[in-house]
């Protein structure tokens, strides 16, 4: 009856029942009538600890080492009874921080470090692979054994079978599909997997019942109770030693295995998932503290009787002790009991695989892949509207890959190891998390660097002392690697590191990995300083029971409620987001407008929601991208410190601002002063101009009125007065022209028509224009010295003429009244053309030299009848000469006449319109 198809059908039916339970559990959870929220289901779900390794392997180990199987169950019992407060603290911390996995827990504790989360994930995946492979080979072996019925024969060594004829391969495929359907159907890592928990609890019942049934059958059906079996065994040669501690591998091995399993019950990812993440109520732990040890006790009661029964039943050997649970009912032709045993083993294996892959895939997607993907800006993930699809794909792929790796490990290692030994390899990997977590929740000084160093070092040593030897033993690495050490270096023998002999491989590996892990963890923690986020997380984790409030995060930033909602919708879906937000509104007792600035509570709320889906580290990255500002995360002390530093920063900025204001105000003062000066200058200018204009106007008006009122004035007087009126009118016109010129020059609005010109022609033009002055004053002589080969200059002809006329008329005006002489000289000098106009008049005192070039200033008094100048001629000349790039000055003493001279640069080259320079060569 026990044909392959029947067994497969039975297994399939069993898995369908599991699905039904899971479905029911999910449905009840949605209706808020949870079936798992009680300490019994909680305890049964923790019993996922008992895998096919327990189901088959305990008997196997008992058959070879008697009570040597016990430490694996003694450890968890001790943990639950003696170290329950560690669990309680981890659970509280995880609830407060919405932790999704062990990687999330460690990353969160050490400053929400995504590197650390990734490292933990990698260690967990690699460390758990042997454990998964163990389940695969147990299921496939038990299937193979069962299909041989009624013949009792062991499964063949795996590597000798081609992959497609390998039962383990199909078991992997089948369980992979099952795990994906079960654990990654839809995205709900943020919630409890209530359906899964219900199914796992059911499986725990099945495996317990199956094992008890076999135990009762063997003890009371085949034999005559415990006393009968034990006395028979004691009487049998070779079995007696199983009753001693020597047979159990010695006390050293006992202690190390006990410690190891104490750690494993907390730190195996699947245990963390069930005990911590899926815990619906912290109070359930109180009952689990004694219920779980009771479960362990029950499932172990019949281990020794079955082991002895098997050894007594198959005295000739040839039957693997790991399979006694199956082979004993088969040998007694109890088909249904054998099938029940198979289903029990299957339930133990599937429970482990489901929970392990679900927890690992959550870690891989939340702590390894998403943080990496989110860092690639070019993927634009942070802008994708819906990431749930992507996350699901990552999780499903992770499950498939993990099972594939498990299968490959089975094929590579073969059956060179007993089930128990393979399981212990994973136990030691999980134990690597112990220092970082235990240290992290009890010691605030534990730092990220310490955690990374400890985990990394411990993991590398684990790979060297356990993983590598498992490959060597199965022939995948040269055997000499084990016996003589790598390259024959005895000190580095992986199972006798630094000549540490005499320990079993497990104790040896535990010793060295822990020495290195704890040593590095302590050393780096003591030598490095923590970041602010790290410090505040440390305080929050260590002091979790001291505070009632949930995570105290303070975000500073200006994100709107709408932006936060959008972000949340991307990860948990729009409907769930709407629901959670309406709950938040209810609890805050106010409505949240989409365009209002998200308050600290809203952002913290969103972070917790997000942390539930994608882990704390990723949540932080995502929120930071929306809130656009670094988070200040702190406990009260840090808050105060931070506030203080903010105040300091604020006052620093204030000081900076006040400096800026001071300098601006100084600038303004200076500008104002300048403006006032300019205003004063302008006023003076206007007043002066007004005075200068009024003077000729006064003469004109006075003489006009005199002429008008005195019609019978003598003709010569009349002519004299009319002449004055004409002269003063001309003066007025000149004045206006000059004022216009100078204001245009100052405003830069005067158009200059610069040309390269022969200066001699310009000077002659000016002489022609002033010829009238010399003719009128026949007592003034003119001397000119104008060579023919004067260099060309780049000037505006009219303006240069204006300067020359101005200087010549001044010279005529101020030269000696009785015997006047004016000299005009031009010559090339040092790359410049210099023209001087000299008179033999009264001269100008040296202290007045500067004054004559200022506006409306004239040196000394003029007691002449000659018309006065405008007071602007020389200032205008200065402007013009400066525009040409030259200089003008006066050379004079009182009574010695005056010489006005200017020099302008010679035009560069002979091209028209070229710029001129003072250094220019001869044109």
């Amino acid at each position: 009856m026990l044909q392959g198809w029947f067994i497969i059908a039975a297994a399939f039916a069993y898995l369908c029942v599991l699905f039904a339970i899971a479905y029911w559990g999910d449905k009840r959870a949605a209706e808020k009538r949870s079936i798992i929220s009680n300490p019994y289901v909680y305890t049964l779900s923790i019993a996922v600890y008992c895998t096919s390794w327990t189901f088959y392997g305990s008997v196997g180990r008992a058959a070879s080492s008697g009570v040597g199987f016990l430490p694996i169950y003694l450890g968890p019992t001790l943990t639950f009874i003696l170290a329950w407060f560690v669990l309680a603290k981890i659970i509280r911390i995880s609830k407060v921080n919405r932790i999704t996995s062990i990687a999330d827990f460690i990353a969160s504790r050490y400053g929400k470090s995504s590197y650390l989360g990734g490292l933990v994930t990698i260690i967990a995946v690699i460390g758990i692979v042997p454990y998964i492979s163990l389940q695969l080979s147990a299921v496939s072996d038990s299937f193979t054994v069962l299909t041989q019925y009624p013949v009792i024969a062991m499964a063949e060594t795996v590597p000798s079978v081609p992959i497609f004829a390998d039962t383990a391969f199909y078991v992997s495929l089948f369980l992979g599909a099952f795990a994906i359907l079960f654990g990654a159907r839809h995205l709900d890592a943020s919630e409890h997997h209530e359906g899964m928990v219900a199914a796992i609890a059911f499986e725990s019942v099945v495996k317990l019942l199956a094992f008890l049934a076999i135990g009762v059958f063997v003890t009371y059906g085949v034999y005559d109770g415990f006393g009968d079996i034990f006395s028979r065994a004691q009487a049998t040669e070779g079995l007696a030693r199983l009753f001693t501690m020597e047979g159990a591998g010695g006390y050293g091995s006992w202690v190390s295995l006990t410690l190891l399993s104490m750690a494993a019950i907390i730190f195996l990812p699947r245990q963390f998932q069930m005990t911590v993440v899926e815990c619906t109520n912290e109070r359930h732990l109180k009952k689990a503290v004694w219920l779980f040890p009771l479960y362990l006790f029950l499932i172990n009661i019949f281990v020794l009787p079955i082991a002895f029964g098997g050894l007594l039943h198959f005295p000739q050997g040839g039957v693997n002790a790991d399979m006694f649970v199956l082979t004993l009912p088969m040998a007694e032709h109890q088909e249904m009991l054998a099938l029940f045993a198979f289903i029990g083993g299957l339930s133990a294996a599937t429970a482990m695989i489901i929970v392990a892959t679900v927890s690992l895939s959550t870690m891989v997607s939340n702590d390894l892949v998403m943080p990496v993907l989110l860092r690639f800006a070019w993927l634009h993930l942070s802008r994708r509207s819906d990431l749930t699809g992507l996350i699901l794909i990552i999780r499903r792929a992770t499950i498939a890959i993990i099972l594939l790796m498990g299968y490959l490990y089975v094929r590579l290692i073969g059956d060179s190891y007993a089930l128990v030994s393979i399981g212990l390899v994973s136990f030691i990997a999980a134990a690597q998390f112990a220092p970082a977590i235990i240290g992290g929740i009890f010691w605030k000084g534990a730092s990220r660097a310490g955690a990374i160093a400890g985990l990394g070092g411990g993991f590398l040593l684990w790979a060297y002392t356990l993983l590598a030897p498992s490959f060597a033993r199965s022939g995948r690495l040269p055997e000499s690697f084990l016996l003589d050490g790598p390259l024959g270096i005895g000190m580095l023998k992986p199972q006798a590191l630094f000549w540490l002999e005499g320990l079993d491989p497990t104790s040896h590996a535990l010793f060295w990995t822990m020495v290195v892990n704890i040593g590095l963890f302590l050393a780096f923690s003591l030598c490095t300083s923590q970041s602010i986020v790290e410090r505040s997380q440390a305080v929050q984790f260590v002091d979790v029971f001291k505070r009632t409030a949930t995570g105290r995060h303070t975000w500073q930033g200006r994100a709107t409620v709408g932006e936060i909602k959008q972000l949340l919708a991307r990860f948990i879906g729009r409907i769930r987001m709407e629901n959670t937000f309406s709950e938040l509104e209810k609890s805050l007792v106010r409505e949240l407008q989409d365009d209002s600035v998200a308050s600290v509570e809203v952002i913290a709320f969103a972070e917790r929601q997000l942390a539930g889906t994608i882990g704390a580290a990723s949540a932080r990255i995502m929120l930071a991208s929306v809130v656009r500002e670094e988070m200040h995360d702190m406990d009260e002390m840090l808050e105060i410190l931070d506030e203080a530093s903010q105040v300091i920063e604020y006052s620093r900025r204030l000081e900076e601002k006040s400096h800026q204001l001071q300098s601006v105000s100084d600038d303004l003062k200076a500008a104002n002063f300048q403006l006032k000066e300019l205003d004063k200058l302008k006023d003076e200018f206007i007043s002066t101009v007004s005075h200068e204009l009024r003077t000729p106007l006064t003469s004109i008006r006075s003489f006009s009125e005199i002429l008008h009122d005195n019609p019978d004035m003598p003709e010569d007087k009349k002519n004299e007065f009319v002449g004055i009126i004409v002269k003063e009118s001309e003066r007025l016109t000149r004045l206006l022209d000059n004022i216009l010129d100078i204001s245009k020059m100052e405003a830069g609005k005067l158009e200059w028509q610069l040309q390269v010109l022969d200066p001699k022609a310009v000077i002659e033009d000016a002489l022609a224009a002033t010829a009238g002055l010399f003719q009128k004053e026949d007592n003034i002589r003119l001397h000119t010295d104008l060579p023919d080969n004067l260099p060309a200059v780049h000037v505006d002809a009219d303006r240069l003429t204006q300067v020359l006329v101005n200087l010549i008329s001044n010279a005529v005006k101020f030269c000696d009244m009785n015997d006047g002489t004016v000299w005009i000289t031009a010559k090339a000098k040092d790359g410049a053309l210099c023209v001087s106009v000299r008179d033999n008049g009264i001269g100008i005192a040296p202290h007045d030299h500067e004054k004559v070039f200022k506006r409306f200033q004239q040196a000394g008094t003029l007691e002449t009848q000659k018309p006065r100048g405008t007071g602007l001629g020389l200032p205008i000349s200065v402007e013009i000469i400066v525009q040409f790039g030259g200089e003008i000055w006066v050379d004079s003493e009182i009574g010695e006449g005056a010489t006005f001279e200017f020099c302008i640069p010679i035009a560069a080259g002979d091209g028209d319109g070229l710029p001129f320079t003072k250094e220019g060569g001869t044109g």
């Binding site: 007004s690 003077t695 106007l697 006064t698 008006r701 006075s702 005199i706 009848q865």
Partner: protein, 127 residues
Amino acid sequence: MSQSILIVDDEAYIVTSLEYLMKSGGFEVEVAYDGEQALTKVAEKAPDLIILDVMMPKLDGFEVCEKIRANPLWSAVRIIMLTAKDREAERNKGLALGADDYMTKPFSTRDLLKRVKKLLSEERIAG
């Protein structure tokens, strides 16, 4: 005996026109082209009235006025300030310094003559 007028201005044409105007009005006329000259002329022989420009080289009109008023001997001398400075503040300054009248350039010749005559018709006793 006809009354005497001192004309003080640095602008030769204006002096010419005032000289002609006052002479045709029947006054004796003296001229000065700056403040110092003016004070010299006053010291030689105090005129009945001075037509005083303000902006002049050496001593300006305000200073000349101040010095004349500081000397009680010359308290009977009438002073008309005739200047291109047309601001109220300057006008007040001139009057405060003791000028009897203040006129701005350009001025009406008839108006000036009228004021000169009016001032000279008022009785004043030299101290």
